[in-house]
């Protein structure tokens, strides 16, 4: 028997391993169809879930809203409209809402969309055993908190479906005039009977996550970098058929790689790496740029002896007036995030411009306010700490603010917190002095900003400043309990002024926005104010 030499043996072994592990390469001409036809989404992160009952990220929610239609939704212009609901009304001053559903709508498996489909969906999404991060949105419904915390049964008397009349009646915990907007959240999606009791793994199978949206899953998904979610039009969709034949969301974990993939022809849209907004938007155009319902701001720890409380209002106002928001917008975001004039962003119903202390930098005013604060017997403080979560680029914003404050004579320094997920919990415990924060709307209502961020009942929650104002609380409480929508909106506006102008507990910097580069073949690319790409309305030549 002829014995192979070392070299030949090595090659033979490598070839055998190659066949076992990696296989061999066949001809490039062995034609197979491209893996995707229309690729519109580059997700710069992993979707946690695409199941509407579970997703808590924008990426995941964007896909979920393409798979499932709720009772209502917000269009690209920010207007509320009925999706499955044809109309809605309140019978007793926003304490009870009755939705009438459109007839003839179907899930992708052919099952009819009925009021009971919503009851089934809410029973699943609010179930404590599913442990959804977004189940708390159901707390507006009478008795739902007891169910979602595992302390009681589903409040069947609060969510009543009449499939014959096609009505869904919902009783609220308190008067909630914004309920038609809130119920548009994906957690309130309907499900077919085949999904009753489905676990958190249902989405991994391409056939079991059955929705009533314009698209349906084409195959099982890979929820990780390098994976993809492929959607195809739902043949049973009751609305307008999508203009694209397939939507593939390729999941990238690196923005530069995602952009390079776009620029090398892999996809029709892609994200913009930090610091390249001007260059790439000039190159590819601005069709993919949109302001969204979010605001970045810096808050003052209300309990801090230097910057907190009523006695330090002039120091806070000096800081607020000293900040050059235009500079932050131009230098850091290259104009994609515009200077904010209040906490509530443009596009939000009831939005009024200029609710903050100042719209533009007021250096003279800042110096005057700082002098007033010193004249009250205060001494130049130790450098004020600008606290932020490290690793997300906030140090650059902080550095601009520090330079701005130096012009006034206010010493300040960066105070980074490790990017280990504990930044917000430390801020909640009052460890910050000047606190980096931001908020993106869950639904397009003022209450979604003002209550969680500044109400005293949100202390230990998202009220990172631990702001506690009876005046502010009273305004919010009166708005929440009002059945008169215009009165409620005026109360929200007054509350915003109380916090930003009278108490100066936070100072806004920029409003958030989305910037995506698009290939020239994309002529229409609608993005909703909630940051969702409306994939079914994309037009590609």
């Amino acid at each position: 028997m002829k014995v192979l030499s070392l070299g030949k043996r090595s090659i033979a072994v490598l070839a055998a391993v190659g066949l076992a592990v990696g296989g061999t390469v066949v001809s490039a001409h062995a034609a197979t169809a491209p893996a995707f036809i229309d690729c519109q989404l580059f997700a710069a992160g992993e979707p946690d879930h695409i199941d509407p009952a579970l997703t808590s990220t924008l990426v995941g929610a964007n896909v979920a809203t393409m798979l499932f239609d709720g009772l209502t939704d917000t269009d690209a212009s920010g207007n509320l409209y009925g999706e499955v609901a044809s109309k809605w009304k309140t019978t007793d001053g926003s304490k009870t809402w009755v939705f009438t559903l459109k007839k003839g709508l179907k899930f992708s498996n052919g099952e009819s969309v009925l009021p009971s489909s919503f009851v089934n969906g809410w029973k699943r999404s609010m179930d404590s055993k599913l442990a959804s991060e977004v189940a708390y949105h159901g707390d507006f419904i009478l008795g739902m908190n007891t169910y979602s915390s595992g302390k009681g049964a589903f409040p069947s008397s609060s969510v009543v479906a009449d499939d014959a009349k096609m009505t869904l009646t919902v009783k609220m915990e308190n008067p909630t005039s914004d309920w038609p907007s809130i119920v548009g959240h994906s957690v309130f999606s309907p499900i077919p009977t085949t999904m009753v009791g489905a676990t958190d793994k249902v989405e991994e199978d391409g056939t079991k996550l059955v929705g009533n949206g314009p698209f349906m899953l084409a195959s099982a998904i890979t929820k990780r970098a390098g994976g993809e979610v492929v959607l195809v039009p739902n043949p049973n969709y009751g609305g307008k058929t999508p203009t694209i034949s397939k939507m593939t969301a390729k999941i990238f974990s690196d923005t530069n790689a995602a952009y390079n993939a776009f620029a090398s022809g892999q996809c029709d849209s892609g994200p913009i790496p930090a610091g390249r907004y001007t260059e790439l938007l000039t190159k590819w155009g601005t069709k993919g740029v949109k302001s969204t319902l979010g605001t970045d701001y810096w808050g003052f720890n209300w309990e801090d002896p230097i910057v907190g409380g009523a006695k330090n209002k002039y120091l806070r106002s000096a800081i607020s007036k000293a900040i050059d928001r235009q500079q932050i917008s131009d230098v850091i975001y290259q104009g994609v995030r515009k200077p904010a004039t209040g906490l509530l962003p443009p596009g939000l119903p009831g939005y009024v411009s200029g609710q903050g202390l100042t719209n533009t930098r007021d250096l003279a005013g800042a110096k005057a306010d700082y002098k007033r604060w010193l004249d009250l017997g205060n001494k130049t403080p130790a450098p004020i700490r600008l606290s932020y979560n490290d690793g997300a680029g906030w140090d650059k914003v902080g550095s601009i603010i520090i330079a701005n404050l130096k012009d006034v004579g206010i010493p300040a320094k960066l105070d980074p917190f490790a990017a280990d997920g504990t930044y917000f919990s430390k801020m909640r415990k009052g460890q910050g002095q000047m606190i980096r924060a931001g908020w993106f709307a869950d639904y397009a209502i003022a209450d979604n900003f003002l209550y969680p961020l500044l109400h005293s009942k949100s202390i230990d929650g998202d009220n990172l400043e631990r702001y506690n104002s009876k005046t502010f609380d009273a305004l919010i409480d009166s708005a929440r309990s009002s059945t008169n929508k215009s009165f409620a909106q005026s109360q929200y506006r007054r509350a915003e002024i109380q916090a930003l102008r009278n108490d100066v507990v936070i100072t806004q910097t920029v409003n958030r926005g989305i910037a995506t580069v698009l290939s020239p073949s994309i002529t229409t690319f609608p993005i909703s104010p909630l940051g969702m790409v409306v994939y079914d309305q994309i037009v590609k030549n």
């Binding site: 066949v26 979602s148 970098a225 993939a261 090398s264 280990d420 997920g421």
Partner: protein, 329 residues
């Protein structure tokens, strides 16, 4: 040899147990917790946090969680990701195949590059080719993977696309399907750049090692004798010199195969490949301990097996080396 192999395998099992136990303990020592990371920028109400904590069994004492982890492990169940509830077994299954393929092609390319550069440099010592090889070896090692990865994407992806040189565009998606080990159609191109980036880092080091090892062997008496006997240069180089010069190179290559895992982590990240490396990196940052622990078991076991194979291969390559099971002690 058999006894030695069994002993080394048992040692490897102890190493895996100790390493996993240490990592398990670390997750309870380092600041932050997976649920805080899960909630992100927005706070979650206490009752929601309680639901999530109970779902993953994090409300149980540490020792209960530890024993439950091992009891599930013995049943072949590695648990579920805190991040997206995906089965760790599934993540391993998906990730392992991608990483194995990347490592295989990377290691193969590495060997080809290293042998070519190393041999050329040694045979043509002092020539332009040797100098270029030395510059290549020193230069390439200093480039971080995230730079070489992005550079490769630009040079072999973005630029060719802009110039309509599609034949040079190798920045393609990683193949989604490998039918019985066969990469369908054009999608083989998706393997080239990641494998090249994995290969070049240590290829330079191995090439230099091979060059110096060869030059040392070539000074040996038996090589002079071989030439004196009238053997062809080709036979002397490849049959006598290269074979002996490969001993230290194989040691380095074995170590490199373990180190390549680290390079693969970064490569998978830069190319967004669905491999184990990028999953480890992402999961460690988000303290997704079931995923990290599951993957750690595989990585540590891989390291132990590679070390064992390297040790055993000494005896195969050089008959003068014998493995004595008693020598382990």
């Amino acid at each position: 040899m058999f006894t030695y192999t069994i002993k080394r395998l048992l040692q490897s099992l102890i190493v895996v147990w100790a390493a996993v136990t240490l990592m398990f303990a670390l997750f309870f020592v380092i600041p932050g917790d997976p649920i805080s990371l899960k909630s992100g920028e927005k706070s979650l109400p206490p009752e929601i946090l309680a639901n999530i904590t109970a779902k993953y069994g994090l409300d149980q004492p540490t020792y209960v969680q530890y024993f439950r982890f091992w009891s599930h492990l013995f049943r072949g169940d590695l648990g579920y990701s805190y991040k997206n509830d995906k089965s760790v077994n599934t993540i391993l299954h998906d990730g392992l195949s991608t990483s194995a393929r990347l490592l295989f092609w990377g290691a193969l390319l590495q060997l080809i590059i290293a042998l070519t550069v190393g041999l050329t440099s040694a045979i043509k010592r002092g020539s332009l080719g040797d100098r270029i090889g030395t510059v290549f070896s020193v230069g390439i090692q200093g480039i971080p993977v995230f730079v070489s990865g992005l550079l490769a994407q630009y040079l072999f992806g973005v630029l060719p696309f802009q110039l309509h040189w599609d034949w040079l565009n190798f920045f393609k998606p990683w193949p989604q399907s490998w039918h019985a080990g066969i990469i369908p159609g054009d999608s083989w191109k998706g393997v080239v750049l990641p494998a090249l980036v994995v290969a070049v880092v240590d290829a330079a080091f191995i090439a230099r090692m091979l060059r110096s090892s060869l030059l040392e062997v070539l000074r040996a008496d038996y090589i002079r004798t071989a030439f004196a006997k009238g053997l062809s240069a080709r036979r002397v180089w490849f049959h006598h010199a290269l074979r002996n010069a490969m001993i230290p190179v194989i040691t380095v290559y074995g170590t490199s195969l373990i180190a390549i895992f680290g390079v693969a982590v970064q490569t998978e990240k830069v190319f967004s490949l669905p491999g184990m490396g990028s999953t480890i990196a992402d999961s460690a940052l988000s303290q997704d301990s079931p995923v990290v622990l599951g993957l750690a078991i595989v990585v540590i076991a891989f390291g132990a097996i590679v070390n064992l194979i390297v040790d055993l291969s000494y005896a195969l390559i050089d008959p003068r080396i014998k493995i004595d099971s008693k020598a382990v002690h």
